[in-house]
């Protein structure tokens, strides 16, 4: 199931015959009040080391107790990703680093809470979700001295443990992604789902959603190649750029007779390239073993089903509903944008108030910025405007002006505003007269247009719009010109 062919814009990234194989590991911080295993606040941006306790600092004798809300949010996310929720255990992942006070991270290993899900992308592309497991976040080290502010060559580090122990879910996709577009769509859809189920605020810029990208390349039909893991990919845009860069780099290495080492690479967004961070450690170097301080986590069918019943309508279903209401393609930008902004219910309200749904969709997309995600305009006012435009009482351009005024004033009577502004769409016979006048005035343009030069239409339309002082409907003018050409 190669999807590369469905994204022609990316067919050019790799030379003929090569294919990308991409898997994503996305860490999201859960939107809880407290940490995963202790009662300190889970709160971004506080003064360093103010949200700490014996468990967070790994002090001797401190024991972890799991946060019920974190488990619930992990299950909500798992169900939204079509996963099976199962009884699970925790392991210690052992390694030494300054921001890991205990020298191990508590994570889930061979029995994660959510397994075997999937997500659908545009074009009915199905991306498998291998697992979505619970684990704790690490603290944050900042490196000082040296030349680059990066860890290599630094003189010392300062560590803040506020983030240590914050609940994370790591969502691991199967290597089903075939190009950078799909990877961006995956991250974007995952973000929408996280927001919809209330699992996370999913802010990539604050690090509450972080992507690691696994990229390999192969000749189409061949087994998977050796993969590299790219870290520090901190925006949806960077996901696409990092993948395109890394896949191209790997193909260049292979085509010049080299081999790919399995390694972790760092995405440098400013330079637009990846470079080696470290050669990948073997999995067993972490010496995973069962966390003896935690008991089995077995949420049970009853709890899982009650969580399933409480899930809101998910973005894909809302897009399908909006598409059905308005007639717009469910993969169109307008449908995505409106659902992402959470304004689909408002479009429905405009329709319920007697408005024309397709125009309501356009108005809501135009009139409300992302910041003003909740329209404060009465739905009936927009409904009235959709009817004015539908019945050709005003032109599309005039409707836009009226819309802006209604929004600026938090409401208004479309008919009254149109009258006050002297807006009226000219009737067809008046427009026809202007069309004839424009043709007579510009015989050259008309001849070119008749000879099939579509661009020549612009001069004619422009002249007509000017003589009508904007009152002619551009669509009507275009239709008349086409009709006259025959």
């Amino acid at each position: 199931m190669s999807n590369a062919s469905s994204a022609p814009s990316h067919a050019t990234v790799l030379p003929n015959g090569w294919e990308m194989v991409i898997g994503l590991e996305v860490h999201v911080e859960l939107d809880t009040k407290t940490k995963l295993f202790s009662a300190s606040p889970n709160h971004f941006g506080d003064e360093p080391n103010t949200n700490i306790d014996p468990v967070t600092l790994g002090l001797p004798g401190a024991l972890p107790v799991i946060n019920r809300r974190a488990v619930e949010l992990a299950i909500r996310l798992g169900l939204a990703l079509n996963c099976t929720v199962q009884a699970s255990t925790f392991h210690r992942k052992n390694y030494f680093y300054q921001d890991l006070a205990k020298a191990y991270q508590i994570t889930q290993y061979d029995q994660p809470i959510n397994i075997d899900g999937f997500m659908m992308l545009p074009g009915d592309v199905r991306i498998g979700i291998e697992r979505a497991h619970l684990e704790e976040d690490t603290g944050k080290s900042t490196h000082f001295g040296g030349t680059s502010g990066r860890i290599h060559g630094s003189d010392y580090s300062l560590v803040d443990f506020n983030r240590a122990g914050v609940p994370l879910v790591e969502i691991v996709s199967r290597p089903d992604i075939r190009n950078a577009d799909q990877a961006r769509q995956y991250v974007s859809e995952l973000r929408s789902i996280l927001l919809a189920v209330g699992a996370s605020d999913a802010k990539m810029e604050e690090g509450s959603m972080r992507c690691d990208v696994n990229v390999s390349v192969r000749k189409a039909g061949e087994p998977f190649g050796t993969r590299c893991e790219i870290k520090n990919v901190n925006s949806i845009r960077a996901v696409g750029k990092a993948i395109d860069y890394e896949a191209r780099r790997q193909v260049d290495v292979l085509e010049s007779g080299g081999t790919i080492r399995q390694e972790t690479r760092h995405w440098d967004d400013a330079e637009g390239r990846t470079h080696t961070l470290r050669v990948k450690e073997d999995a067993d170097d972490y010496r995973y073993f069962l966390e003896p301080d935690l008991v089995l986590l077995d949420p049970g069918t009853e709890w899982v089903e009650s969580i399933r019943a409480s899930l809101p309508m998910l973005p894909a279903a809302r897009r399908a509903r909006l598409s059905q209401l308005t007639g717009a393609d469910k993969e169109s930008e307008a449908v995505y944008v409106i659902v992402e902004r959470g304004q689909d219910d408002f479009v429905q309200l405009v329709a319920d108030a007697g408005g024309e749904p397709a125009r309501a969709l356009v108005y809501v997309q135009q009139a409300f910025s992302e910041a003003g995600a909740n329209p404060v305009v009465p739905a009936k006012d927009l409904a009235a405007l959709t009817l004015l435009e539908r019945d050709a009482k005003v032109t599309a351009t005039q409707a836009k002006t009226i819309l802006a005024e209604i929004v600026a004033n938090g409401g208004g009577d479309a008919v009254a505003i149109a009258a006050a502004k002297g807006f009226e769409a000219l009737d067809t016979s008046a427009v026809e007269a202007m069309v004839d006048a424009a043709i007579a005035a510009q015989p050259d343009a008309w001849a070119k247009y008749c000879a099939g030069e579509e661009k020549a239409m612009g001069a004619l339309v422009g002249a007509i719009m000017k003589s009508s002082q904007g009152k002619a409907d551009g669509k009507v003018v275009t239709a008349l010109l086409q009709k006259k050409r025959g």
Partner: protein, 108 residues
């Protein structure tokens, strides 16, 4: 009916394996300690080899010996430790944080 003792071969502990684990745990062992650990760890694994000889096909794998599960904490903030008090116990506090030597690797 001999159970799985033939199918599962217990990994052999060699001085090389002990040296690797010691390195991962940042333990600096002398040659004598390395030899002693190799002997002792071999003895421990031999004991698990004895368990492997039992027929445990009717026993479900357990993550814990305790007969309890699902011990939860409600999501309610409880005041933690005072920063100043904690930092006063650290060798090198700086700007409200722990100052530590640089590391040559990274994880996240």
């Amino acid at each position: 009916m001999s159970p799985s003792s033939d199918a599962k071969t217990t990994p052999k502990i060699t001085a090389q394996v002990v040296a690797k684990v010691a390195h991962l745990a940042r333990l600096d062992l002398t040659e004598a300690e390395l030899a002693l650990m190799t002997t002792q760890l071999t003895g421990m694994l031999d004991h698990f080899g004895d368990i492997d000889k039992l027929d445990l096909s009717a026993v479900a794998p357990m993550a814990q010996p305790f007969p309890i599960k699902n011990v939860y904490r409600e999501d309610v903030v409880v005041p933690g430790l005072d920063r100043q008090e904690v930092l006063d116990n650290a060798p090198a506090p700086q700007d409200g944080r722990f100052r530590v030597p640089p590391s040559n690797g990274s994880e996240s």
